[in-house]
């Protein structure tokens, strides 16, 4: 179970990109007991209404949070990339209110709530970082409401790809301005509240306009300024590029 040092680094990086943690706190996070698991494409690893006793951390692959209507239409309410803890809120709210599904084969880490709680109790700054991390996801979520509620298909799609690209940062760039993003058009439809057919047409339009080429599971940004303008994208809200001195800590000091 406790594999000493099991790739919690991306998760720590995500936390420290917005919160200030001292070295003791940081190594305590890296020492968290975690238990890795492979998840197959399109399989739920957290089910609706399930009571969980651990939180998940994405190490590799892409994870979606799903909502569903009575007629079975699906809506993705969040996308999670490596380093994200799609579940962190379960520490405080163990009953899952939506399902988590791997959209690609993914490897996740399961970290027991007891360990996270002990950590949060011992280091208030860690508790604060966890809370802050959850709030970043909430800000993204409220952007999705705006996106899905008020923007037309092209703008909606542009916004989604801007967000994903900004969250990927340079991590997955292959040096030619493109990165792997192996979601199907059905997944994109579920994320944008469109139909797969219309996603196809919208992607085609964006390609013809020279803004974005998303095909065969990889994304190439053709014209970032134009795409960001169309998608009304302001990277600010992601709080991804904070300078070290902007990172927050309200308890104690470093």
């Amino acid at each position: 179970m406790a594999l000493g040092h099991s790739n919690l680094q991306p998760f720590l990086d995500r936390l420290t990109s917005r919160s200030r943690l001292d070295t003791v706190e940081q190594s305590a996070i890296l020492d968290l007991p975690a238990h890795a698991a492979q998840v197959q494409t399109n399989s739920d690893f957290v089910r609706l209404d399930q009571k969980v006793d651990h939180a998940c951390i994405v190490v590799e692959g892409i994870v979606g949070r799903f909502g569903q209507t009575a007629e079975g239409a699906r809506q993705i309410t969040a996308l999670h990339l490596p380093g994200d803890a799609p579940d962190l809120h379960s520490v405080v709210q163990p009953k899952a209110r939506s399902a988590l599904q791997a959209l690609t084969t993914a490897t996740i880490l399961r970290v027991p709530h007891v360990a996270l709680r002990a950590l949060a109790a011992r280091f208030p700054a860690v508790a604060e970082a966890f809370w802050r991390d959850c709030m970043v996801d909430a800000v993204i979520l409220s952007q999705w409401v705006v996106n899905v509620g008020r923007r037309d298909a092209r703008t909606r799609m542009a916004h989604l790809f801007c967000e994903i690209t900004a969250r990927h940062k340079a991590k997955l760039l292959d040096g030619k301005g493109s990165y792997r993003f192996p979601l199907t058009q059905i997944h994109l439809a579920d994320a944008t509240g469109l139909t797969a057919v219309h996603v196809n047409r919208t992607l085609k339009a964006l390609r013809n306009e020279g803004l974005l080429d998303a095909r065969n599971g990889s994304v190439r940004i053709l014209d970032w300024p134009a795409l960001a303008y169309l998608g009304e994208f302001d990277p600010e809200y992601l709080q991804a590029d904070m300078q070290p001195e902007e990172r927050l800590r309200i308890v104690g000091s470093v």
Copy 2:
């Protein structure tokens, strides 16, 4: 500034409806320094990108969280009723990522971050309750994504009114199954991602079907089971009706 006992009771009620707090913690919350303010209809009391040093609590009236597109279309991403702290996350994230606007004349309480932080530091269970409270709002938010992304106008509107009714609980019922809810159809449009014109038609349809009568700033539920069925509403996710023994506390014990 510190008015001793300034109607923090609804806020405490909201917290304790989901989290277990002992009497010391509870009275510490009631003793929080707070400073009441009247806010006029349609006036922003927290602006986008504003850096705030206090959190707000709604005492009376209805407050909306707003997002906006480049063309100026508005989208409400959350509605807040008395007892809610639309801003609680600002404790951990002081820069406002969306505006808060009073949708009716409202009275709010401003509680300095320093006081909230001191409280959270002294009582980990309070910090936990704050975090949990924010996560309830996030669950509601993800429901909104589903609502706006995948449901048609009637279902969308039905869902919204189910949510609001359930959150009001019995509080505002006047004994005849109706309650005051003085939002304009424009507000409802901004909340559902529809047009004011279409809201009008949708409300008319719901009225004709004998489900819901929303007019003149008050709401009458005509057929709750049918409305909940149409709106695909499962009150569970609001976590509003937790039995005392279901309420959570992960640090210490009571």
